[in-house]
């Protein structure tokens, strides 16, 4: 326990200094042009959200016939209709997405933390080669890997199961890269030495000392991975055939691609899109502080 208490002061000054810089800048008067550009950027990003919000209040007839920004009163009807669609399969998709993103994100954090910590704090043969390969992995888009992953999983008969989406989501090269940066920056070698001198085994050093110090960084990894899985379309689209296993992305796209002989369910898709961004918005608002502080901290330290 002595090592634990002694570790905290070591970590704190770093974070405080990172938090202090913005305060000094805030004192200056904001200049006009940067503010205007930022406002434009915000408008650009928020307008589609506003559109979704307004469009989801319209009935199927109004959607294509009334003025774009004129809201209507059918939001509740649309939600009821969407919920009634095929015995509420939409909510199943919502739960599936939460499972894929939540469990996948957590498992990914565990793997990233271990791998990143190992790469940052241990010396072993081929260390830089492995790290370089992982860095290269950051550059390979997940979409490219989806088909090979499908063929691989098909060989062991795991396609069209929850595993087929969860397993590929667990390993995130970017997460490992971030975790390594955070581990290098926030876990001082002296503390590890002290812990080992006190007789702690490596596993305990990792779980009781290093992990708590890396928590802010790991939250960032979790958020990144959570959002990436939440928005992922290609992987589940290729892996899954059973629509009861679909995440929201694949399910909603199916409502649009009904084939020529059936109408696309625009109102349901728009309402579904609105509902599907609510959890993400909530997550961001609650975990935003970690995100900001640690992006800054990571940038300074790296």
């Amino acid at each position: 326990m002595a090592t634990l208490t002694s570790s905290r002061p070591a970590a704190r000054p770093a974070r405080r200094s990172a938090g202090l810089t913005p305060v000094r800048e805030r004192a200056q008067r904001p200049s006009f042009w940067p503010t205007a550009i930022l406002l434009l950027g915000a408008l650009y990003c928020l307008f589609p959200v506003l559109w979704v919000l307004i469009a989801s209040t319209k009935s199927a007839g109004e959607l294509f016939s009334t003025f774009t920004l004129a809201p209507s009163t059918h939001l509740w009807d649309n939600i009821t209709e969407l919920s009634a669609y095929r015995d509420g399969v939409f909510w199943r998709w919502m739960a599936n997405t939460a499972l894929y993103a939540g469990v996948g994100g957590l498992l990914s954090v565990v793997v990233s933390a271990m791998a990143g910590y190992g790469l940052a704090k241990f010396r072993f043969a081929g260390k830089s080669a492995i790290f370089n390969i992982i860095l290269a992995g950051v550059l390979v888009p997940g979409v490219v890997l989806a088909i090979p992953q499908y063929l691989l999983l098909a060989q062991v008969g795991l396609t069209n199961t929850y595993w087929s989406v969860l397993l590929p989501s667990i390993i995130s090269p970017y997460g490992i890269y971030l975790a390594r940066i955070y581990a290098a920056a926030s876990v001082p070698d002296d503390v590890l030495e002290a812990a080992r001198t006190d007789g702690a085994r490596e596993w305990r050093v990792f779980t009781s000392i290093s992990m708590p110090m890396m928590v802010p960084g790991l939250v960032t990894v979790f958020l990144f991975q959570f959002v990436a899985i939440w928005n992922n379309f290609m992987l589940p689209y290729i892996m899954l055939g059973d629509d009861r296993l679909f995440p929201l992305t694949v399910g909603l796209s199916g409502l649009l691609n009904q084939g020529a002989s059936q109408p696309a369910m625009y109102t349901s898709v728009i309402t579904g899109a609105l509902l599907s961004i609510l959890p993400l918005a909530a997550l961001f608002l609650t975990l935003q502080r970690y995100w900001q502080v640690d992006l800054a901290a990571g940038a300074v330290k790296a």
Binding site: A60, S65, R86, L158, T161, G241, D242, N257, A260
Partner: protein
């Protein structure tokens, strides 16, 4: 990269171990069906009303339980099936197969031959042309026809009346009416030439007498760039060049808006059109009417097909017998066909059961009491048409080439697009190793 894959392999191995240890929650795989207990069949489909239809079957047949997995319509599901066939696992037992996709699927060895497991007299229930599209002229049977999509002309009766327009019976009249309408109100069009809907154009070419593929001995022949198709392309290119027909694709938000506000006054579509109109423009209920397709020769009754599917059993299914039993009930019995019409408003391919099932016009066309009588008459005039093993290539060539042609807005560009489709289709057949007769 290499490590990446290696890590994933390790992860897969680990997961397999976990599954073996009994942690496989949620996987609804089709492997290892026990000898006792019901046979479980999975069914990939995107046709409407399938779940309700299957529920009726499941209630009456506890030994053969079917699960519907709803898929994206058309190409995506077929691509997914072909991928699963190549991968060696992951395909469903039952698959909705659009008629034009059957040769492709047969060429990929994706479908099981059901000739031994289907009732012998089943073929008698279908029109010869329809049955041929599931046999491909061979002794094998690759599915049972479910519905068909004979094409008709749908138009806004209220606007026709208001502007004093006559319903066109020939393509010449169609061109005249298109011009009258557009002159009377420049915001209105009698139709649009859609570069996104290859199936629609195929139907129009079929009506004109085209058959894009053919079998000559041991070779395929491709006949896209031939007189009937050229005639259709030149006709539509002329209308678009003249500006009396719109050049925007169908099934877009703009097109939906145009259906709602009455600027699309006509739609050359197929028997399932009421459902699409109802979904896209619910407020126009009662304003539409249906008539047979305009003809190239006055007095003819020719039409084409747009849409329509069979139900097939995949080559990966372990229970083709039970699957065939289910299909024969769904697509070839009065009870099954009634369910298809009641829950999905399909236009059944089963002629024996059609009459009873289609007693009432669709709700969106309730004012047109003879809707299904006209439909049955037009269905008689569906022209023969053979699909080849690379319909997807021809269709995507259609999208690319006619996409350019509708932008160019000239009849010449339309003809050039047909020629380019021919070239792309022949080249692909050759590249895939088929012998092609020229």
């Amino acid at each position: 990269m290499r490590l990446h894959t290696a890590m994933k392999t390790a992860a897969v191995v680990a997961a397999t171990a976990m599954l073996a240890a009994g942690c496989g929650g949620g996987s609804e795989g089709d492997g290892g069906s026990a000898a006792d207990g019901p046979v479980e069949l999975t069914f990939w489909t995107w046709a409407p009303g399938m779940e309700e239809t299957v529920a009726e079957w499941n209630a009456a047949n506890p030994d053969i339980q079917v699960t519907v997995n709803k898929q994206d319509g058309g190409d995506p599901a077929i691509t997914k099936l072909l991928t699963a066939i190549k991968a060696g696992s992951g395909a469903p037992d039952l698959m909705q197969t659009e008629y034009q996709k059957i040769p492709t699927l047969v060429a990929a060895d994706a479908l099981a031959d059901l000739s031994d497991v289907l009732p012998e007299d089943l073929a008698d229930r279908y029109a010869d042309g329809t049955w041929e599209s599931v046999t491909l002229g061979s002794d094998a049977v690759y599915g049972v026809p479910q519905d068909s999509g004979p094409m008709q002309f749908y138009y806004r009766a209220d606007i026709f009346e208001q502007l004093g327009l006559e319903v066109p019976e020939t393509w010449d009249e169609y061109a005249q009416v298109a011009e009258q309408l557009h002159t009377a109100d420049p915001s209105k069009y009698l139709g649009t030439f859609s570069a996104n809907d290859a199936g629609w154009f195929t139907g129009l070419a079929q009506q004109a007498g085209a058959s894009w593929w053919g079998i000559e001995g041991d070779s395929w022949s491709v006949d896209i760039d031939s007189e009937p198709t050229q005639k259709v392309a030149e006709y539509w290119g002329g209308l678009v060049e003249q500006g009396v027909i719109d050049n925007k694709p169908m099934y877009t938000p703009e097109w939906n808006a145009a259906l709602n506000d009455g600027s699309q006054v006509g739609w050359l579509s197929a028997i399932w059109a009421p459902g699409v109109l109802e979904g896209n423009a619910p407020d126009t209920a009662g304003k539409w009417a249906m008539a047979p397709m305009p003809q190239w020769e006055a007095g003819d009754t020719a039409t084409g097909n747009w849409g329509g599917s069979a139900t097939s059993v995949t080559s990966q299914s372990e229970h083709p017998e039970q699957a065939a039993e289910f299909i024969a009930w769904m697509n070839g019995s009065q009870e099954g066909v009634n369910a298809l019409v009641e829950y999905g408003s399909l236009y059944p391919a089963d002629l024996d059961a059609q009459g009873e099932a289609l007693a009432e016009p669709p709700a969106f066309f309730s004012q047109q009491a003879d809707f299904y009588d006209i439909a049955a008459e037009t269905a008689q005039g569906v022209q023969p048409f053979t699909y080849g093993p690379n319909v997807n290539v021809a269709y995507s060539a259609y999208n690319d080439e006619f996409g350019k042609a509708t932008e160019a807005r000239t009849a010449d560009a339309f003809l050039a697009a047909v020629e380019a489709m021919q070239t792309a289709t022949v080249d692909d057949l050759k590249n895939a190793g088929f012998s092609v007769a020229e």
